[in-house]
Symmetry: none
Subunit: 227 residues, 2 copies
DNA sequence: CCTCACACGTGACGC
DNA sequence: TGCGTCACGTGTGAG
């Protein structure tokens, strides 16, 4: 893990040291050997500005990695991907907490005294290292078939818990996917869901991976995801 | 603003079109003019892979921009910066809401002080963490018919917003109602939902009122609920 | 050997 | 005009 963390830090430092380190090796490369050409003096201007631009972008990426926990791969694209997933996780957590807050407030208004939950007032919520809540879904089957370039038919079977339907909806809404039609059936503690989903054309190829990742995120990250 | 959004989308398409568009201009650049060199055939391998890598990274960045609201500049580095700031905002928001929730829960154990005035409710925030509006559900039709002493058929028509489905699910799950079967169709910004709901026998007579009240709670308490 | 991820210099385009 | 941003092809090093 440590060696992984040094994986592109070492590369990153190459660019840092290019400020005054390795760059000196090639410093004579842009020496104005021909002073008649004004470009030979202006050329390093573009180079060094471009170099700083790249450095700034990398530093931004480095900072982004810092605020995102559980970064699996130090890969440049994976950092962005993890950041996206993490933002969506935060979105859904906030929404879940807001829902719980609304529930509590509605109870204050005296709407429903039907608190049948045996555990008491607070839901049994699992808290991971970052303090975020985790509700496992337990997907038992997940099938996907493309019925068009922008439409896909998703059918899944999962265990029915209290918030299963809400969480499933959150999964798809967090992916910015459009649920055209959905059919949900509940039978003997099982939940069967068949839905037509539409998305952007370029996302379709990675759609299954996204859904699996989203469901995985909504489950316990420590637990291995079994489908 | 729109022209800004097209700012590097147009540039982005340059890379897309380089697949088969402008690239044809330079397609002869890697033609094996000298067939004795095998590198002239293997060279595009590296090129196209690098091209795909760049495209993937850009798509990831594009997706990151999508989940982050209020992106001022479409600048590549600014997108990452806004994402970082947004994550920190979400962090603070979640912490604040958690505190509020804990306060409510602790208070709930003691005296049930019911807030009579809907206007002076403690939380009247209609904006979420991004500052974007949280839109109410806007129920346009709500019909209920009893098909049994414990089962009721609910069909409703409402406007389709981002979180409509999630909120609807939350409404029913908060009422501790059992959704036996649900059929959701989305058509032209309208959401049609037909579901069979089961509950305890003694709740059935007040079920409609409960659902209406729950939906009202999930909307803005300040706004009068129009059905 | 090959693949992957990266930094680099460079030309192009818009302000 | 320069300045900033970008995509591109290339070389390099790690796995």
């Amino acid at each position: 893990m440590e060696n992984i963390s040094m994986y592109w830090d070492s590369i990153h430092q190459v660019e840092d040291y290019s400020w005054g380190g390795l760059e000196d090796t090639f410093s004579s490369y842009y020496d104005s050997s021909s002073p008649d050409r004004p470009q030979s003096a202006t050329a390093p201007k573009n180079i060094v500005s471009e170099r700083n631009r790249r450095k700034k972008l990398n530093d931004r990426l480095y900072a982004l990695r810092a605020v995102v926990p559980n970064i699996s791969k130090m890969d440049k694209a994976s950092i962005i991907k993890d950041a996206i997933d993490y933002i969506q996780v935060l979105h859904d957590e906030e929404r879940a907490i807001q829902a719980e807050l609304n529930e509590l407030e509605s109870r204050k208004l005296g709407i429903n005294d039907l608190d049948l939950s045996p555990m008491g007032s607070s839901k049994k919520k699992r808290v991971d290292s970052s303090g975020s809540m985790v509700y496992p879904i337990e997907i038992q089957e997940l099938n996907m078939s493309y019925v068009g370039e922008k439409t896909v038919l998703v059918s899944l079977k999962c265990s029915k818990r209290r918030d299963t339907i809400v969480k499933l909806c959150e999964v798809f809404e967090s992916l910015k996917l459009n649920i055209v039609s959905s059919n949900i059936s509940s039978f003997s503690e099982r939940l069967f869901n068949t839905m037509f989903i539409q998305g952007e054309e370029e996302e379709m190829d990675t759609l299954k991976m996204k859904i699996e990742t989203a469901i995985k995120v909504f489950n316990d990250p420590q637990m291995p995801f079994t489908m």
